[in-house]
Symmetry: C2
Subunit: 434 residues, 2 copies
């Protein structure tokens, strides 16, 4: 088997190869800081994305530099770790090697698969071409630019408003969908009134579509009702028991037959495990997720662990754990700890998820929080708790400081830090004297 290039940190020690720099991969790598191993973390990007706040980048509440943090920063203090930016092209669990685009294959002694998911459109016609998912930082920037461009167009010619240029349909009543719908409505009804005084924003619609009987199904009834009430207060039309059937660049058609003129469809519903999971040689669970043993290793491959969105983590007949940042982080840490134990000749230990509570924000000073012991909170209290928890989760003090500045300004001065759309493909127009 090809050993590929060394990890650069002495090839004698066992190499732990971590695929993916999200919460799962970071959690695993950090837990191995003091282990006698070489940690090699590979991600397709040079940054870690703080996914829970992507909708804030999309709606200008935070600049991308606060939500995307340089991966290499996170390992300056971890001498046994190396980071590479490369795209995985294949995993060979028999040869114990992983191949990459533009980089030599890497052999591993232990593998952590933290490759996350892709957006699942459930075959909705036109969705792959026209929907705006919110799973990556690029998604958030793309949505932000798209919305800003629609408003600039409406400013140049307000008549497009009635063609639905500013209308947004959000699919999915989970946190991504609700938080996005709330933030978009707040942006529309608040700041944009000042930014675009000649655009009749009151004629711009924000519609949230949820297939189930209620939004926020993971929350208690009281919180669901509160969230619905709050969304409607912000001018969001909440459609439950409804699904999107097809979408074009300018309209969204619902299963009920209604067509909503809208140039923007935000997709907050459905993930499918990274297709590379298929190369692990086990039968995948629903949504293309990798079934895991209690210690998060893969059946028949005690040296291979699956964590985060790509993993199917369930005990007995229980439903699997949700694809949330907290689950990814904790499962990644458990995988790292179990690898450290194996290296020391110890037994692995089973993973137990500790639910620190679920929170979602609907708008400024409007949020819901459901704590571990049945505690619930709504409104400003929950909103501040939400802010505190997310600040605490942000990777570095620097980001914390920046986020504080941004949130403070956004919260109290109604200003937004990042409301610009820079096309990087466009560069200085050039005069070439000849």
């Amino acid at each position: 088997m090809s050993d590929g290039r060394t990890s650069g940190a002495g090839a004698s020690r066992p190499r732990v190869l971590i695929l993916g720099g999200g919460f799962g991969g970071i959690g695993a790598a950090r837990k191995l800081k003091d282990a006698d191993v070489d940690v090699v973390l590979v991600d397709a990007h040079d940054y870690h994305t703080f996914q829970p706040l992507l909708y804030q980048v999309a709606t200008d509440l935070l600049p991308e530099s606060t939500v995307g943090h340089p991966l290499r920063d996170l390992f300056h203090d971890q001498p046994n770790a190396r980071v590479h930016t490369a795209t995985v092209t294949g995993i060979d669990v028999d040869a114990r090697t992983v191949s990459f685009a533009g980089m030599e294959p890497l052999a591993y002694d232990y593998l952590v698969v933290a490759l996350g998911a892709r957006v699942e459109f459930f075959g909705v016609e036109g969705a792959a071409e026209h929907a705006f998912p919110l799973y990556t930082l690029a998604d958030a920037l793309r949505l932000r630019r798209h919305v800003l461009e629609r408003w600039e167009a409406a400013d140049r010619d307000p008549s497009v408003v009635d063609d639905g240029a500013l209308n947004v349909v959000v699919v999915g009543g989970g946190p991504t969908g609700v938080e996005s719908a709330g933030a978009i409505a707040e942006l529309y009804r608040g700041l944009f009134v000042e930014d675009y005084p000649d655009v009749p924003q009151e004629r711009a619609r924000v519609v949230l579509v949820e297939a189930g009987a209620e939004i926020f199904s993971m929350f208690k009834t009281k919180l669901r009702r509160y969230a619905t009430k709050e969304l409607e207060k912000f001018g969001v039309e909440v459609r439950v028991g409804e699904v999107v059937q097809s979408v074009t660049a300018t309209a969204v058609t619902l299963a009920s037959g209604e067509t909503i003129p809208a140039h923007t469809l935000v997709w907050g519903a459905g993930l499918h495990g990274n297709p590379l999971a298929e190369s692990l040689g086990v039968e995948l669970q629903r949504g293309g997720r990798v079934p895991t043993r209690p210690d998060l290793s893969v059946e028949g491959r005690p040296e291979v662990f699956a964590v985060g969105d790509v993993a199917w983590i369930a005990s007995g007949k229980q439903p699997p754990l949700p694809q949330l940042g907290g689950v990814a982080l904790q499962s990644g840490e458990q995988a790292g700890e179990n690898i450290a134990r194996l290296v020391e000749g110890k037994e692995t230990v089973p993973f137990g998820y500790f639910d620190k509570g679920t929170m979602a924000t609907i708008g400024r000073f409007s949020a819901v929080m459901q704590g571990p012991h049945g505690i619930t909170m709504t409104g400003k209290k929950a909103s501040l708790a939400w802010g505190a928890v997310h600040l605490a989760l942000l990777s570095t003090g620097e980001d914390r400081a920046k986020a504080v500045v941004n949130w403070t300004w956004a919260g109290f001065t109604h200003e937004r830090p990042a409301r610009i759309s820079v096309r990087t493909e466009e560069t200085s127009e050039r005069e070439v004297a000849t």
Copy 2:
């Protein structure tokens, strides 16, 4: 003549049309806040760019959201002003109308031409295709991404370092060139040593090429010498009396015949006034700049004013004022004031530039400052003065706050806020169930 759409603020008052949202355009618009006019400012982008700090975006010292500020924010408190994002396609000074791409023409009573400049490559072979200018925010982001991608490639395969993948040639010994060369060298010799422990950065070259006998010609000899010494301390090769003859994607050839393997050529030399200046019907000065009368109006067109980089502002036999932010801001303000005077039936007054001093930074705690009364400063003192002046110039308290955070962290923790490269053209990879 077509009146086009109204400015949205009552069409009875005289309309002042300002083309360009840089320092010149902003200065003019703000001076008209209390005038009995409708101000319409049009820029091709939805943001104002703080150009003096572009090199910091390119070298990760500041995130783009600090240097690019939403134009509309600047006018929330100015009811007589409207902002539109559109590209100017033509100026008809006889009909007193301006046409735009995707927006109806606008008639004006007074016109402020603050359209800035384009990069001038002086016919250097390959420059238009391969050089990286630093005049727009998109330029800065493009250069940042390019450099980061070269380092990621070197991390995957360190052998490319000796092919010059990391080498940078900077053209121009003025502030843009010197500040860029210094910041790139500091990034290379400092942070990247931690970020890329396996890349032999000491073999990466940063070369500054200046055609004149010395860099920083606008500064006193003492300051020039200091700057050269400092650059060399940061590992920059300073080549004076040398010019670039041609450039390819991987090499730069100098007039002396020497070829430097380098994948990056930063272009800090040469501007050419926006070509739209030609439609003003006056003979342009060197560099395609619009000659102005003492009150900054255009010969024979008392209702048309030219300010900033596109204007040739010179008194008598004096050389023209340099294309600097301070000149743009002050000339814009003067144009605004003169228009306000004309509306009130008063005489215009001639423009006098007050030189508040010129500053340039070479690296952390390394800068030069030349004050109005022959005062000069170097080193940490100048560096802090520089920081203070630029903070004071930043548009809003929010930006000031963010810049403080970023500068503090960058200066004292050696962290950088924005060291990530997000391709917005790339979005969520999609799984379409069928």
